[in-house]
């Protein structure tokens, strides 16, 4: 994770514009709060969305790495959520894989459509959904290899007791049928809101929004 953070930091400090700073700050705060919304699912487990989908799309994946990392590190240090020893893994799954998957899925599905087209809202929804599902599957995989990597001489698991056959389906199913749907909805809702108000804040969309400025001030 350290080289990724280093590169993301370098990239951010060379590209960050002063007017994007409030958004970056809001993004980290938003991610922190949205992860507090635990949803119950059948089976007595809970989980949450991350918000990394929309952050990746709006701020670009590299800025999202920084914003979500800050939220995750604070959770672990201050609130004992996620865990100190799991910071790197959590950040990789939620602060790196998620925004990148979301951003590129969104880009691919949007194709060359207008920035205000409804196809982009659907693209954002699918991007959020796929991003969290992949991150969850990956997390399940990381859980699942723990008993293989770390066990004592008698075969007793040192950390994670459940193997791949339990951890991967558990993480995938509860996200694919629950939390990822929420992530997709959040991504689409916020994206649609940005479409109606100010598309110039979207990553990589600075120039075309200029000429629509007059149109954008009308609603809201």
């Amino acid at each position: 994770m350290i080289p990724i953070w280093y590169y993301a930091g370098r990239k951010l400090s060379s590209e960050l514009k002063s007017r994007q700073v409030p958004l970056l700050a809001l993004a980290a705060a938003f991610s922190f709060v949205i992860m507090m919304f635990n949803l119950p699912i059948p089976g007595g487990s809970t989980g949450h969305a991350v918000g990394a989908g929309i952050i990746g799309i709006v701020l670009g994946p590299w800025a999202a790495v920084i914003a979500i990392t800050v939220a995750l590190v604070l959770q672990a240090l201050m609130f004992g959520d996620g865990g100190i020893t799991a910071i790197a893994a959590n950040c990789f799954n939620m602060a790196v894989v998620m925004p990148f998957v979301a951003y590129y899925v969104y880009r691919t599905l949007s194709g060359g459509t207008e920035i205000t087209s409804s196809r982009r809202v659907i693209a954002a929804a699918i991007a959020g959904y796929i991003a969290l599902t992949i991150a969850a599957g990956l997390t399940g995989f990381e859980f699942g290899i723990q008993p293989l990597l770390h066990q004592d001489a008698s075969g007793m698991p040192l950390y994670m007791p459940y193997g791949l056959s339990i951890a991967v389906p558990a993480m995938l199913i509860e996200h694919a049928f629950g939390f990822s749907i929420l992530e997709g909805l959040i991504t689409a809702l916020i994206f649609a809101y940005i479409q109606r108000t100010d598309t110039s804040i979207l990553y990589g969309e600075r120039s075309p929004s200029k000429k629509k400025k007059s149109k954008m001030t009308a609603p809201a």
């Binding site: 994007q20 958004l23 709060v33 604070l74 609130f79 004992g80 959520d81 770390h150 110039s200």
Partner: protein, 106 residues
Amino acid sequence: MDKTVRNFAIGLVVLIILAPLGLLAVGETFGEWSNEEIEEKLGFVPPGLEQLSSTWSAPLPDYAFPGGENSDSMTLSAAAYILSAVIGVIVCGGLLYFVGKRVAKD
């Protein structure tokens, strides 16, 4: 731009107020069990976990006031949860805002 940011901030405040809804969910996230929960599930605590669990003690574990983790008072837990959200927003937002302003161009 400023208006959008302001509206996002308002949305965030609404989310903070609604945050205690997240307390209603019973149970623990997969893989985030406490040592007690693991013991209940398996009958033992994996030794590595037991060792690591003392690496760090968070000042506000589980978004609750010290000693209030198992409190039955919903109002108290909700207040602690909202306070945690406020702290989270101020620290995350504040940190990135000031660092961001320092490194930002133009």
